[in-house]
């Protein structure tokens, strides 16, 4: 398969810290498959780790979906039906955390993302992150 031709669509159910590892490993594999460098694939794995951890921490369970848009972009969509993020702007500030963390997770992901969107309400949260192959 030529790089970029993969049209994979991977769904990983997230409910535990084991699932966080599974999701980031699948993300790394998909990134490598569609031609991302090893460094970029590691970066993508780290981003997925942050997104999946937030699902476990704040919502208990949810799903991470990984997809190649066919144009060199890897899309990571983390979706849960948890309580939602009360203050999205605050959640994106480095150093802000409601969980006793350091608040470096989401801000870091946004820093490296080419596409970044959060939709959050009392019915749940969807974080969409896109990263282009360099």
């Amino acid at each position: 398969m030529t790089p970029g031709a993969a049209n994979s669509d991977v769904r990983v159910p997230i409910a535990s810290s084991d699932d966080v590892v599974i999701a980031r490993q699948k993300g790394r594999a998909l990134a490598a498959e569609i031609g991302f460098s090893a460094s970029e694939a590691t970066l993508i794995a780290a981003a997925i780790s942050e997104l999946a951890r937030n699902i476990v921490k704040y919502a208990g369970s949810g799903e991470v979906r990984l997809r190649h848009d066919g144009d060199g972009m890897l899309l990571m969509v983390a979706r849960d039906h948890g309580p939602g993020i009360p203050d999205v702007q605050a959640a994106l500030r480095a150093g802000f955390s409601t969980s006793g963390g350091l608040g470096m997770g989401l801000p870091g992901v946004r820093r490296i993302a080419d596409v970044f969107e959060i939709v959050s309400n009392t019915g749940g949260t969807t974080v969409t992150v896109g990263k282009y192959r360099r």
Binding site: T42, S49, M104, G108
Partner: protein
């Protein structure tokens, strides 16, 4: 997955063999902090060569581990951070702050030997 912890002289060496979950990382931190007193350790080396990803949780846990061990009177060195992992950490704005790092196990042992001579 439990991380094997070896004792070599007055140094404890935790050698991570594969990807660790958040739960595994916290267990490793607690086990090392506990063992430092049991074995009257002067130094701790955490070999992260095989760690697939260092994200915000992993970097915080490694930092906490080193700070706790320092409070117990020993020094910690993180060794084996891979180039791709270092790249990702910098891109994500993650640091280990004041925690000592070294290229590999050998350099880590040399660092601890120097640190202990200065005491």
């Amino acid at each position: 997955m439990a991380v094997p912890i070896l004792k070599q002289g007055d140094v404890l060496i935790a050698s991570i063999q594969l990807a660790l979950t958040d739960v595994d990382l916290v267990m490793l931190r607690d086990a090392l902090v506990e063992k430092v007193s049991n074995y009257r350790t002067r130094g701790v080396i955490v070999d992260v060569t095989a760690l697939d990803v260092v994200d915000s949780f992993a970097s915080r846990t490694l930092r906490d581990l080193a700070h706790m061990i320092r409070l117990r009177g020993a020094e910690t060195v993180i060794v084996g951070i891979q180039p791709d992992v270092a790249f990702a950490m910098v891109q994500l704005g993650l640091t280990l702050e004041d925690i000592a790092t070294a290229l590999d196990l050998e350099e880590g042992l040399a660092f601890l030997a120097r640190a202990n001579r200065q005491r």
